[in-house]
Amino acid sequence: MPGAIYAEGLVKTFGEVRALDGVDLDVPEGSVLGLLGPNGAGKTTTVRVLTTLLRPDAGRAVVAGHDVVAEPDAVRHNIGLSGQFAAVDEYLTGRENLQMVGELYQMSSRAARARAVELLEQFDLADAGDRPTKTYSGGMRRRLDLAAALVVKPPVMFMDEPTTGLDPRNRMLLWEVIESLVAGGTTLLLTTQYLEEADRLAHDIAVVDHGRVIARGTADQLKAQTGGERVEVVVHDRDLLGTATEVLHGFSKGESTVDQHTRKITVPVSGGAKLLAEVIRELDGRGVEIDDIGLRRPTLDDVFLSLTGHVAEEKSEAQDEAEPRGAAGGKGKKERG
C-alpha cells in the first residue's frame, strides 16, 4: 500500500528546462521526508505538483489517498501548504489572515475565528494578532504562514524551505513547532537546502539534483554510503609527524592523508570512541604531543559533495528581514552555482 505521499516518475518541463526528470517518492504515514537539494534542483516544482498547483507532464502522484490530477479537491481538503515565500496578506492582520483561510477551508465563521485565536497563541503571535502583517518581521510572517497551513490540522503537510532566510532563533522556534507537529502524527514533506535541518527533522532524506532523486535513505545510511568515520590528529611538533603517521597507520582502514602545513593527519577508521582512547594512549607512549584530536563523522555536506560534485548550501543565512519577495514559486531567475 502506498504511503501518505506517493509519486512515480514525475516529469515537468518549462520550455527547455526539465525541472522534474522522473521523481519517485514514497512517504509512509506519520513520517517526515526531507527533500534536500541546491537551488534549482526541482524541490519547489515537486511540492507544487504534489499540492495540485502544477499538473505534471508525466507520472502520477497520490496524496492522502487521492490522485493529485484526478481528484485535486479531495487532496486540497487533506493538505496544508507553507510555500517557499510566506504567503500572507500584508494589509490584513494576523487574525484576519487565519480566519480567512479557515473560512476558505469551509469552516464556519465562528469555528474559523476560534481556530485563529488558538493558532496565534500557539505560534507566539497573540500580541501581534491585531496588527497588519506588513508590520511583522520575516520570522513572524513565516510563523503566520505556517499557522495558516495548519488551520484544519491537515494529515499531510508540505513545507517548502520553511527556514530559509531566518535567523537562528526563529529557525529553532520553527523546528520545535515542526517537531511537535510530527509527534502528533502528521505526515510531512519538507524541502531544505540546509543539511543540518534535514538531519534534525527528517526520518528519511531524498537528495534531489537536476530534477531527479539521486540518493535516498536515513541520514545515517547516506553518511555510511559516503564512507565511514575518520580520526583527525593535529600534532604539536612537526618533526614528529612521521612517528605519528606510523602510529595511526596501525588503526587505518584505508588511505591516510598528511597535511604538512597544518600538521594534520586524517585516517579512515572503524571502532568509534573506544578506538580514539587507544590512539591517544599509543601516541602518548611514543612521546608524540598532540594539539587536537577528534573523531569525525561525515556530514550531509560530505554526502552531497560526494554525490553531486558540488556543495549544497548556496544561500547566506540569518537575514531575518531580508525575506525574498520574488516570484511565488521562485522561478526563472535561479541559476545553479
Binding site: 507544487r48 499540492t51 495540485t52 498547483l53 502544477l54 499538473r55 479537491d73 486540497r76 481538503h77 487533506n78 493538505i79 501548504l81 510555500g83 517557499q84 515565500f85 510566506a86 504567503a87 500572507v88 496578506d89 500584508e90 494589509y91 490584513l92 484576519e96 480567512m100 483561510v101 473560512e103 476558505l104 477551508y105 469551509q106 469552516m107 464556519s108 497563541e121 500557539q122 505560534f123 507566539d124 497588519p132 495558516a148 495548519l150 484544519v152 490540522k153 491537515p154 494529515p155 522556534l173 520545535e176 513547532v177 511537535s180 507537529l181 509527534a183 502528533g184 502524527g185 502528521t186 519577495r325 516570484a327 511565488a328 514559486g329 522561478k331
Partner: protein
C-alpha cells in the same frame, strides 16, 4: 512557543454537505471582504481613484467645454457640454477599475497568495469573483461621489429616478465586465508593475474612440463605425438617454446607437461571460 498539536483530522464535513453554488457564493464573499478590508487600509488608492475622474469633470467642463458644440444645443449654452460629457466620465471611471483588478491580481500572484488560495479546497472562480465584486463596490462609491460633483457643476437628471438608477446599473455592469478583463490581464503578466500599465493603456483608445467626449458625427467614417459599435459608446449613449442629457436624437443609425440600453446590456453580459470564462481557466493553471 507552546506547540501542542492534536491528532490530525480531515476537515470539511460540513463543506461537502453544502451545495456547490452556496459554497461558491460564500467563498467569493469571503474573498470580496478581504479585498474591501484591504481597500479601506490603503485609502490612498480609493481617494486617488475618486480625485482623478473629478479632475476630468473639471477639465472637460471648464477647459474644453466651450470649444465643443453639441448638436441641438444653443452655441452659447455652456452647460450643454457639461451635461453631454458627464455620462462619458462616469463610464470612463467604471472602466478604469480594470487597472485596479489587474494590478491587484498580479500582486496576489507575485506575493504567492494565489498559490495559497489554489491549494485550498475553495470554489474555483471565487478568488477572481471576490476581487471583481470588491471592485464593483469601489466603482459604485466612486461614481456616486462623482455624480455629486457633477450636480455641482450643472449636470442634471431629467428623466426621473428609476431611469437614473437604470443608468447607474448599466454603468456598473459595464465596469464589472471590464474588471474581468482586468483579472485576465493580471493573471497573464509577469509583474504587478506591468499589470498596472497593461490594465490601463488599451483603455485610452477604447474610451476616446467613442461618443463619450465629442459627438461622433464629425469623425472619419472608419473611426465613426468603431465608435458606434464600441461597447463603451453604447453604455454612454444608454446613460445619456436615461439621464436625459441629450439635446436631439442621436445622428447615427447604427443598431447599438438606436437601441443603446439593450445593446449596452448585451455587450456587458457578453464581456462578463467571455472574460470570466477565460480568466477562471487561466487561474486554474496560473504560474508566475
Amino acid at each position: 512557543m507552546t506547540a501542542t498539536m492534536t491528532k490530525p483530522q480531515v476537515a470539511g464535513g460540513d463543506g461537502q454537505a453544502r451545495g456547490a453554488l452556496a459554497r461558491s457564493v460564500r467563498d467569493s464573499l469571503v474573498v470580496a471582504r478581504r479585498n474591501l478590508v484591504r481597500m479601506l487600509r490603503i485609502p490612498e488608492v480609493v481617494i486617488f481613484g475618486i480625485i482623478q475622474p473629478v479632475m476630468f469633470v473639471l477639465l472637460f467642463a471648464y477647459v474644453f467645454g466651450g470649444a465643443i458644440s453639441i448638436p441641438g444645443a444653443a452655441a452659447a449654452d455652456r452647460s450643454a457640454y457639461r451635461e453631454f460629457m458627464m455620462a462619458g466620465v462616469f463610464a470612463q471611471t467604471v472602466t478604469f477599475a480594470t487597472a485596479g483588478a489587474s494590478a491587484g491580481i498580479a500582486d496576489d500572484m507575485h506575493k504567492g497568495l494565489i498559490d495559497r488560495f489554489r491549494a485550498l479546497p475553495m470554489a474555483r472562480g471565487a478568488v477572481l469573483t471576490g476581487r471583481t465584486l470588491a471592485d464593483l463596490v469601489q466603482s459604485a462609491v466612486t461614481v456616486l461621489v462623482l455624480m455629486g460633483c457633477a450636480l455641482v457643476v450643472g449636470w442634471r437628471i431629467h428623466e426621473g429616478l428609476p431611469k437614473a438608477l437604470a443608468a447607474f446599473g448599466l454603468l456598473l455592469l459595464l465596469g464589472y465586465g471590464f474588471s474581468w478583463i482586468g483579472a485576465l490581464i493580471g493573471l497573464s503578466v509577469r509583474t504587478p508593475e506591468a499589470a498596472t500599465s497593461a490594465g490601463l493603456v488599451w483603455l485610452f483608445p477604447l474610451t476616446f474612440m467613442s461618443n463619450a467626449f465629442v459627438p461622433t458625427n464629425n469623425m472619419p467614417t472608419v473611426v465613426r463605425h468603431i465608435a458606434d459599435w464600441n461597447p463603451f459608446s453604447t453604455t454612454v449613449q444608454a446613460s445619456r438617454e436615461l439621464f436625459g442629457n441629450q439635446f436631439q436624437p442621436v445622428a447615427s443609425d447604427a443598431w447599438p446607437m438606436q437601441h443603446p440600453v439593450l445593446a449596452s446590456l448585451l455587450w456587458s453580459l457578453l464581456i462578463t461571460v467571455v472574460f470570466r470564462t477565460l480568466a477562471v481557466r487561466k487561474y486554474r493553471s496560473a504560474t508566475v
